[in-house]
Symmetry: C2
Subunit: 201 residues, 2 copies
């Protein structure tokens, strides 16, 4: 298969992105692709499509809650929707991009930890102390990270990434782009797998 | 496997319901379930969830169009979104319920024909002449059918079915309910298949 890059766009606060994060590396290995992790902020994108956080939507939210619990049992991953859900992923997203540039070997581990600390452990990654705890658990200097995510450089970097998402019509989470083809949702991952394997159809 | 009934709720104007209609009978055969076809009107349900027809939504509509074309190629079924899309499925839905009660052996064939006449042939089933043509092609007396769908009895029947959908929190199309478990979307059909086969998880 041709080696391509899968752009994996997500909001850290999206439960379906959590499920995608738990499985994207296996998909990438099986299809011999590499993955770039691209956190963005759904809250900035939603007004452009008249959408709101799924969990907060009438009727659809109740379904999504049950659907997520069902998927978590299917995948065998821990799952809860804490009281703090959905939270602002600004700090976590800035931290990811800073790590990608400065401690690239830690970046994906950090992303996994952000997802898990919320959806498995029930904590709120919009709190600085939670970001610090994650950093410490991964042997990332937390003082350096917390200072970095308040820098104007990294603030601008996240803004640019959100603008990039908007420019690429990324309207949901998770949202994958591979070789110009877009796949929205955890439930499109099998189709993306097949698409890559067959080179499209 | 325990023999159950899959309730297949759909709006005739929904492209993802068309794809579901083309595949639900195979799923039912493989899992030894029976299917009841339950047309309803998304236009009545959407205001309750602040939703609108997907194809008309900014950005999401463009994605859905491409996604539908991709699914159609995958399934090997003809597909187009005619200028008349989305159309009002009131007449087709009333006709379905009248047939279910009075010509039950024709009802599912009629449903398939409604989907195909729009998504394959580009015609508009909100036009009486299109309903008549479908009836004639299936050896259903079209005069009788066209008169029946203007009766207050069948108008009330469709209203009851839409109310039933609302009462069951059916908010999208297609939407399946089997043994109390709900599955929304064409893309949940593999999961529903697995759920039935395993008796849940």
């Amino acid at each position: 298969m041709v080696r391509r890059v899968i752009e994996f766009w997500f909001d850290f606060s999206s439960p379906y992105a959590y499920f995608a994060a738990e499985t994207i590396e296996q998909l990438a290995a099986e299809t011999q692709q590499s993955v770039v992790w691209r956190p963005f902020l759904l809250g900035v994108v939603f007004p452009k499509t008249n959408m709101a956080p799924l969990i907060q939507m009438p009727i659809r939210g109740d379904y999504a809650r049950r659907d997520c619990e069902r998927i978590a049992r299917l995948l065998g991953v821990p799952f809860q929707l804490p009281a703090s859900h959905p939270y602002s992923a600004v700090k976590a997203s800035r931290a990811y991009y800073w790590l990608e540039a400065n401690r690239p070997e830690k970046a994906v581990d950090f992303a996994h930890a952000v997802f898990r600390v919320h959806f498995a452990d029930g904590r709120d990654p919009s709190e600085t102390s939670v970001i610090a705890d994650i950093a410490n658990s991964l042997a990332i200097p937390s003082d350096e990270l917390l200072s970095a995510i308040e820098s104007s450089a990294i603030k601008d970097e996240l803004k640019r990434r959100v603008d990039e998402a908007i420019g690429k019509s990324v309207f949901g989470s998770p949202y994958f782009i591979v070789d110009g083809e877009a796949f929205w949702g955890w439930d499109r991952m099998p189709m993306m797998h097949q698409w890559i394997a067959q080179g499209g159809w």
